[in-house]
Amino acid sequence: MGAPFEIGYVFSFLPKLLETLGVTLLIVAGSLLTGIVAGFLVALPRMYKIPVLRTLSGLYLSFFRGTPILIQLFLFYYGLPELLKPLGFDLSRAPVLFFVILAYGLHTGAYAAEMIRASVEAVDRGQVEAAYASGMTSYRAFSRIVLPQALAIAVPVFSNLVIALLKDTSLAFTLGVMEMTGKAQTLGTLTQHFFETYIALALIYLVISFTLEKVLLAAEQRLKRHEAREEKAGRSFKLRRKGSYRAVLADIDAGKGGRL
């Protein structure tokens, strides 16, 4: 079970793990970018019901959502070079990170595609009609009217997607990538303080997830400010009530003070 527990190790491991934070964030950022591009490409044929491509999109979604991410990682790492060799591409020297980002990116793409489709379809049909009726091209109607509203709808789903991705990247160590989880394993083996390493690791993931969640929540509220009616009214109402409640108390106090 390793060496006896010493809390001090948790703190000394934190900076060591943080050295590899960059790699983890690189995987997250690279995969997100790939994923959003892939997501659009996969979502479009489904939204516009383009015959053959639509079926291909369906297959893509089934594969990436229906198989474990770990297996997808292995399939890409071991399979892609073999597949591309006959076509004249030599991937034997490509960095591991390339495969990792590609696998996570395409995996994220499946979820991004569903997010995009659902958000765009959630925008009221009347919005597009009003845009068309005033003479906008379909590109303008999409970019100026549908997209901003779809974005606001998508943010909560996007938030989940990014956090899931962040956590999933911890599996990249299985291919020998020195990201945070890989580093934690090495530290654990070296010092035999496994429990402390994983506490430190969990703390870091927790802080990043929490920050991401807050940032994206703020973004959502900003994007949805046009819908703030009930919420804001409710809040100011409560504030006012609290205020007047305090004011009443203050009055009572002042009254007492005055009399005494």
């Binding site: 009347g126 009609e129 009726a133 100026r144 819908e227 009616r229």
Partner: protein, 250 residues
């Protein structure tokens, strides 16, 4: 001058519009009446191609288009000569009242921002919303939203404004303020095609009344003709049903 010739439209096997022809002179206010499902909305939506007619011709001013072979450019030109006021207002939800009116001026007409802004402010003041420029639609009453919708349509200076039951989604006490605005702009000589169930309003705003049923124009004429001396049995039935008090008078 707007001219619809032999417009036909089907949904599946259901022929909703059957060879409808209608012409509207510049400055004229045409009110379309008819029972539910008679094709009024569909006809209006064919005029700006939100619904694709199967066949027929649409001419507005010097622009003419054959519906069966309309190209993207034709549709865009058609839409830029018309504006629509929707039953459900359909204001852009993420834009303020002012931005709603400005949007197409900036994006479609490529008007400089300052000019678009001053024109939009003036129009919103005209419909009585000078104090609500920066409100989002979610904070406006239905009547206020519809008045923004009307300002948005006016801003484009279209050759015709299409109104599809502009007051039927409103609470009864808000209907008046919207009808008042429409009356005002009708007096200014703006060409309009209005679908409505407000008979009193139809009577005093219309230059011509068109009665539709089953996808065809059954009868048309001045408000007096159609309301006082309807010729067709279907028109009489409809009027009797919709204005029961007429029975008492007769």
């Amino acid at each position: 001058m707007i001219e619809l010739k032999r417009i036909s439209k089907s949904f599946g096997r259901h022929r909703v519009l059957q060879d409808i022809s209608l012409s509207v002179k510049t400055g004229e206010v045409v009110v379309i009446l008819g029972p539910s499902g008679s094709g009024k909305t569909t006809l209006l939506r064919c005029v700006n191609y939100l619904e694709k007619p199967a066949s027929g011709e649409i001419a507005i001013g010097d622009f003419k288009m054959d519906c069966s072979q309309a190209k993207r450019g034709d549709i865009l030109r058609l839409r830029r000569k018309t504006a629509m006021v929707f039953q459900q207002y359909n204001l852009f939800r993420h834009k303020t009242a002012l931005e709603n009116v400005m949007e197409a001026l900036l994006v479609v007409k490529k008007m400089p921002a300052a000019e678009a802004r001053s024109r939009s402010v003036a129009l919103l003041e005209k419909v009585g919303l000078g104090g609500k420029l920066d409100e989002y639609p979610s904070r406006l009453s239905g009547g206020q939203q519809q008045r923004v919708g009307i300002a948005r349509a006016l801003a484009l200076e279209p050759e015709v404004i299409l109104f599809d039951e502009p007051t039927s989604a409103l609470d009864p006490e808000l209907v008046g303020e919207v009808l008042e605005v429409i009356r005002d702009i009708a007096r200014e000589g703006i060409t309009m095609i209005v679908v409505t169930h407000e008979m009193g309003f139809a009577r005093d705003v219309a230059n011509r009344v068109v009665f539709m049923d089953g996808g065809v124009v059954v009868e048309e004429g001045t408000p007096d003709d159609v309301f006082q001396h309807p010729q067709e049995e279907r028109t009489k039935q409809f009027l009797r049903r919709i204005t029961p008090e007429a029975n008492w008078v007769i």
